[in-house]
């Protein structure tokens, strides 16, 4: 680290933090691996914001009346703002998802994402192997590719949940147009699926990126988009090997020196 400079950039701070955890040999340039590119990070950021806002504005419907007594006469305004916000963020979320479908079909990075995300037989074996490893029957975890079975399950759940939530939400939004029976089903599914999504997210995703040792309090990959070599080797060894043996993939996934995913600057780490 250059001692002379008084202010460090965000990347430098996080690098300094990393250095404490995983000391690396200083004379070879540090290598970083892209997990999320800029577009994916922006999609994720918008999605997260929408999800949190939707969960907050949605859960207010189910809370008991006494919870809101402290609001007094502002209750009505809060409720109306709540319904408006819920619809606005729902629309943004659906638009992001539509863009994501466009991204999967028409962008090279998106097509790669889709290809890597497809479920394979290997995932079932990986799951079995990983369970054995977790329980303690094996010493080594299976070698994961770019997306492990965990990512695929979560992504699949997201697609299914998002479809159900959007369809049922739109039905509820245009309720008078439908048979009351269909509205009832939509309301039931919308509520149940919301509970499922929130619980799943809290237990699965929140643990992976926040509570897990080495990642606490937050894995900043969702902002920087890259992880360092040690983490790459440990968590996605198969993908690491693939990248190292293929110069084409290296162009896409490998960044040297800087932790920023977009640009290549070798000077910082000198």
């Amino acid at each position: 680290m250059p001692e002379k400079r008084t202010r460090m950039t965000h990347n430098e701070i996080s690098m300094a933090m990393d250095d404490v955890d995983t000391p690396i040999v200083q004379d070879s340039p540090r290598r970083y691996f892209v997990r999320l590119n800029l577009s994916e990070r922006i999609q994720h950021l918008i999605f997260v914001t929408c999800f949190i806002m939707l969960a907050l504005t949605g859960v207010m419907v189910w809370l008991p009346e006494k919870t809101f007594h402290f609001l007094g006469s502002a209750k009505e305004t809060v409720f109306l703002v709540r319904s408006l916000l819920h619809r606005i963020f729902a629309t943004i979320m659906i638009l992001v998802c539509i863009y994501h479908v466009y991204y999967l079909i028409f962008k090279a990075a998106g097509r790669r994402w889709f290809k890597d995300m497809m479920p394979k037989v290997k995932d079932i074996n990986d799951f079995g192997g990983n369970m054995l490893y977790l329980i303690g029957f094996r010493d080594e975890p299976p070698e994961f590719d770019r997306f492990s079975y965990k990512h695929k399950l979560e992504y699949g759940a997201l697609i299914a949940g998002m479809t159900l939530m959007s369809v049922s939400g739109i039905i509820l939004w245009s309720e008078y147009f439908w048979d009351k029976f269909i509205v009832d089903i939509a309301a039931l599914i919308h509520g149940m699926e919301a509970v499922l999504a929130c619980l799943a997210l809290m237990i699965w995703h929140l643990y992976e990126v926040h509570l897990r040792p080495h990642k606490f309090p937050v894995d900043n990959m969702w902002l920087t988009g890259v992880i360092d070599e040690a983490e790459m080797k440990e968590e996605y060894p198969l993908h690491y090997k693939k990248i190292m043996s293929d110069p084409e993939l290296q162009k896409i996934y490998l960044r040297e020196g800087s932790k920023g995913s977009g640009q290549k600057t070798d000077s910082i780490n000198a």
Binding site: F68, S73, F79, Y133, I185, Y207, P213
Partner: protein, 400 residues
């Protein structure tokens, strides 16, 4: 005072301020307070009932052990709708003291007050007759079962006018005072104007908030046993609807019980069963009710027949009984069997089907959520344990 100044005594030369101003001021103060009391006591008590009933502690415990309060606040009573009536106009046959054979007040008797529109003796009789024919009434010849369950006039009409009239216009007290002041420009009898003003404004807006209406109706309709002996199901199901959520947040014009069961053009005293063609929740009248035509707010202006015909409350006891009908025998206890009989008449096959589908979805989700959350928790706990174990191993390795 003038007299005092001309011939000053020794005392009031020494204490001029005290004798010339303070004592007269104190005297005047008490005098005017006295006048104030005298005016507020002006309500006519010709029968002299207040000689006893003015004492706030007056009351007794009745045979059932309930506390009965016999105190009358005459100032509040004077401001109430019935403030001009004598006590004995309604409480008839109370000539002996202590009172014997006290009858309940009958709202359908004649009041000996002239109705200004017809110049005849005023009576609530017409309204009471309508009411006795409605679902809530005891029937014209009192032939309906369990008359003690049925609400009397005073059950809903708790005399809220005992409260000061301020605030009849909702939260805007200023508006109320301002309007009243305009009336009093011509109608100089202040007490009379206040009463008439209260009488009108009282009917210009709803007396109970949505929340209060729901509380009033559910005070009976949530009682499962009471409902079951009339072949009705308890309506806790209303609180599963989005209508209740709006009421919960106090949204303006939120749909409470009477929004649908007594919409514009109907009266609360004439609520009818839903298979009656005059009922607003009869299937033929549903569209009109849902779109609340003529009301202040159009609730579902675009409602289609399919939407309006659907079930509003969540599926309750009757459908559950129907769904389990094969197992339940009608020869159970009387109340339950009445519910089953009524359920068989009222619940259609399509409703039963809808109920079954909804419960299946609900059951599926409950199991699915349990499984998913259980699996995830187990998985993450295992991951956590393994990571900790690896860390311990590494530490041990480093120590060696």
């Amino acid at each position: 005072m003038k007299h005092n100044r001309r011939k000053p005594t020794r005392l009031n030369t020494r204490w001029p301020v005290f004798f010339n101003f303070v004592i007269p001021a104190v005297v005047c103060f008490f005098f005017f307070i006295g006048i104030g009391y005298a005016q507020s006591d002006a309500s006519p008590d010709e029968e002299n009932c207040l000689i006893c009933h003015r004492y706030p502690r007056m009351g007794r415990y009745d045979e059932a052990g309930n506390k009965r309060v016999y105190y009358i606040n005459d100032q509040l009573f004077a401001k109430s709708v019935h403030g001009k009536l004598r006590c004995k106009s309604c409480h008839v046959d109370l000539d002996k003291i202590p009172h014997e054979n006290v009858k309940k007040v009958d709202c359908s008797i004649k009041c000996h007050l002239k109705d200004p529109s017809s110049n005849r003796e005023f009576s609530h009789r017409g309204m009471v007759e309508k009411y006795e024919n409605s679902v809530h009434g005891k029937g014209v010849n009192r032939q309906k079962k369990f008359p003690e369950d049925r609400p009397t006039c005073a059950y809903c009409h708790s005399n809220r006018s005992y409260n000061p009239y301020a605030g009849f216009w909702g939260k805007s007290e200023a508006l109320s005072r301002e309007t009243l002041a305009r009336c009093q420009g011509c109608h100089t009898d202040k007490a009379w104007t206040e009463k008439v003003y209260a009488h009108f404004t009282h009917r210009l807006r709803r007396r109970r908030t949505q929340d209060e209406i729901v509380k009033l109706c559910t005070s009976c309709h949530e009682d499962k046993q009471k409902m079951a002996r009339h072949g009705l199901e308890a309506i806790s199901t209303y609180k599963d609807t989005f209508h209740w959520i709006l009421v919960k947040y106090g949204v303006h014009n939120a749909p409470d019980c009477i929004t649908c069961h007594v919409p514009v053009g109907y009266t609360t005293h004439e609520i009818r069963p839903r298979d009656d063609a005059m009922s607003p929740i009869n299937k033929n009248n549903r569209i009109k009710t849902c779109s609340n035509q003529g009301g202040i707010q159009n609730c579902h202006p675009n409602a289609t027949i399919k939407f309006a015909e659907g079930r509003v409350h969540a599926y309750g006891t009757k459908v559950q009984l129907m769904a389990a009908a094969d197992k339940t025998k009608v020869s159970g206890n009387e109340e339950e069997s009445l519910l089953i009989v009524r359920a068989r008449e009222e619940i259609t096959q399509s409703e039963l089907f809808h109920y079954r589908v909804l419960s299946l979805i609900s059951l599926f989700y409950k199991i699915f959520i349990g499984l998913v959350v259980g699996f995830m928790t187990m998985h993450q706990l295992l991951v956590h344990r393994r990571i900790k174990r690896n860390a311990r191993k590494e530490d041990a390795h480093d120590a060696q």
